[in-house]
């Protein structure tokens, strides 16, 4: 078993492994179903930050919610350190929930407007079978851990700023000492300076606590900054998985290339190669995806085989995984510099 982590101190094997995950939704009215996630597999190592990026509707949140057991899992396996999360039910499921915690995008919606910050952070603790003796002290240390002070504990959410609310959410997610933290667009709604603060916080938490993070964003810059490895999703499938560094400097999938090209960069024109957008049109409907390679309708390298055959996610030289028939032939450009 060749894990990505070479460090022998860690127990062997990934913390989380997602195998051929499918998430389906029944469309209201019509009798059709929508495959929001269609056969996605990846692993997250212990202490690793795994980034997931993709355009709106590509199924990022559905993956996250499936891991949280909040979305219906149609097929596939989700294994957390040997436990099949997807097969847990009832009490058993509730017991295991604490092991994976989530920070949601909408920081205010995920806090009950009627609860004080203290109550919100203490709530997961109360829900445990054996609540910790010093819950109060724990709450106080958590709030400081996320960079707020105890004076915030008795406030109601609506008196806090977006960044402060997101800090409270993080504190609450940490209360149960999860092994995996899922951040679904946790910084997307925030101003850049606030976003920077939260990113710094997540980084320091990850480094100090050694927890694994699934970090979802549509902002390639942020994901690339934070993650060890990044998965690129397109229409319910993974197009490419690679280390952040490799992905940005040497993309192997045309979609990744297009994303990099479209990323607006705050650099003076002198330091930036002007490139026309490499991609036209928008993501097709997930209810009725293209045959074969799902990206083929927008791909500038499209060939006949793309419509006929679905490219598997396969290893390529250089360590990454790519779902493109022609990954070896194409010469793709990385970040503009």
């Amino acid at each position: 078993m060749t894990g990505l982590l070479q460090d022998g101190a860690m127990p062997a094997g990934p913390l989380l492994s997602v195998d051929a995950l499918c998430v389906q939704f029944d469309l209201p009215g019509a009798k059709a179903t929508l495959k929001a996630v269609d056969g996605v597999s990846f692993e997250i190592g212990r202490g690793e930050i795994f980034g997931l990026i993709g355009e709106s509707g590509s199924g990022k949140s559905s993956v996250a919610r499936a891991i949280m057991r909040l979305a219906p899992i149609a097929a596939g396996a989700i294994t957390l350190a040997g436990t099949r999360l997807d097969q847990l039910q009832g009490r058993e499921l509730r017991r295991h929930r604490r092991r994976v915690q989530m920070v949601f995008q909408d920081s205010s919606d995920s806090l009950d407007p009627r609860m004080t910050v203290r109550q919100a952070i203490a709530e997961p603790l109360r829900m445990q079978d054996a609540p910790p003796a010093d819950a109060g002290g724990l709450v106080a240390s958590l709030i400081q851990r996320v960079g707020l002070d105890e004076s915030h504990l008795d406030r109601k959410p609506h008196t806090l700023s977006g960044g402060q609310k997101q800090r409270v959410n993080i504190a609450r997610a940490l209360a149960l000492s999860p092994e995996l933290l899922v951040c679904d667009e946790a910084v997307s709604a925030l101003d850049v300076s606030v976003q920077a603060g939260i990113i710094n916080l997540l980084l320091s938490l990850q480094q100090e606590l050694g927890i694994s993070v699934l970090f979802i964003s549509h902002d390639l810059g942020v994901v690339a900054h934070l993650a060890d490895r990044v998965g690129v999703m397109y229409l319910g499938r993974l197009a490419e998985v690679a280390s952040a560094e490799a992905l940005t400097s040497r993309p192997r999938h045309p979609y990744t290339e297009a994303l990099l090209a479209a990323e607006p960069e705050p650099r003076p024109s002198t330091h930036r190669a002007a490139r026309p957008p490499l991609i036209a049109g928008e993501v097709p409907s997930a209810a009725n995806p293209p045959s074969g390679c799902r990206f083929r309708t927008r791909c500038r390298y499209v060939r006949e085989r793309c419509a006929a055959e679905q490219p598997p996610l396969r290893p390529v030289d250089g360590g990454g995984l790519v779902a493109c028939h022609f990954a070896e032939e194409l010469v793709l450009e990385g970040r503009r510099a």
Binding site: R97, D112, V194
Partner: protein, 304 residues
């Protein structure tokens, strides 16, 4: 400040709800202290009918020579009690049904909502008449009927609220750290879903007062010889030729009571829903206090 501005301030300011609340409080006190303030028994026929206003009879007497003021005061008792009973029953039936339907969903929801729809498909007063016919006459029975009639709309409202609340992020968060369903319902869903129900219930208090009047008018819900506003209005309405003014004391009492409950409901809604409240308050403040007066340590929506 323009004349319009003054009028607007008077009507739209919190004064309106304060006025409503004070009025209701006054009515409640009068009702409780009825024996002290009434001066006569509400059923004593101790004068000629329709004496008109006098020192002995502040609001005159009714068709049986009873003191209208005394009957009004005791009637407030009956009408307020009736309103609260009806709304209590409506909430008591409607909220659990809506909660169960909204939270459980599926066939439970389908069955409950079909029943609710059925009850909603009868014109309310007709259903109330039918239920009163079964339960027998009398104020309490009539208000039980009104409560039953009101309950489906509470159930629908509650269900809708539960459906919305169930999808909120904090509920999902609670699920994600393993909270049991009962906790989520009790701690998150009910407190956050109940607000519109409370507002609606306030409006319903007014509607119940009106329903009491209507049922009394068709002769149901009356407990002779005890007064309620509806009973008084009905009997006064029988003598509009002889005593045209007779319909005003009970009619105005009903209208004012309903008005007060509605105003209270309105202001409750304003206070509870931020969208309208700020708008309204801004408009008011703009007129009243042009100078900036920042409140110290106001909470900010920004930071870092």
């Amino acid at each position: 400040m323009s004349g319009g501005g003054v009028l607007r301030n008077w009507l739209l300011s919190d004064g309106r709800s304060r006025l409503a609340a004070s009025f209701l409080l006054a009515v409640a006190i009068l009702a409780i202290a009825a024996p002290l303030v009434a001066r006569y028994s509400p059923t004593a026929q101790n004068a000629m009918p329709f004496t008109g206003i006098s020192w002995d009879h502040w609001l005159g007497t009714d068709d049986l020579g009873r003191d209208v003021w005394a009957r009004l005061v005791y009637g407030a008792r009956a009408s307020l009690l009736a309103a609260f009973i009806a709304v209590g029953i409506a909430v008591g039936i409607g909220v659990p049904i809506g909660l169960v339907a909204g939270f459980r969903g599926g066939w439970v929801d389908a069955v409950l909502m079909r029943i609710v729809d059925t009850f909603l498909s009868f014109p309310g007063i007709i259903l109330a008449i039918a239920i009163t016919a079964v339960l027998g006459s009398g104020l309490m029975n009539a208000m039980v009927a009104v409560g039953i009639v009101f309950s489906p709309s509470i159930a629908r409202l509650m269900r809708g609220q539960v459906l919305v609340t169930r999808e909120r992020g904090y509920v999902e968060a609670a699920v994600s750290f393993g909270s049991p369903s009962w906790w989520i319902v009790v701690r998150h869903i009910v407190p956050n879903a109940i607000q519109p129900v409370v507002i609606q219930a306030t409006f319903m208090l007014g509607l119940a007062v009106l329903a009491e009047a209507s049922l009394s008018f068709v002769g149901l819900g009356v407990q002779y010889p005890n007064p309620s506003f509806g009973v008084m209005l009905r009997s006064a309405a029988q003598f509009t030729s002889l005593n045209p003014g007779g319909v005003y004391p009970p009619g105005l009492a009903i209208a004012l009571l309903v008005l007060a409950f509605n105003a209270l409901g309105d202001s409750l809604r304003d206070v509870l829903s931020p969208a309208t409240s700020t708008r309204r308050r801004i408009g008011r403040r703009a007129n009243r206090r042009p100078a900036p007066n920042p409140e110290p340590n106001g909470a900010s929506p920004r930071d870092n």
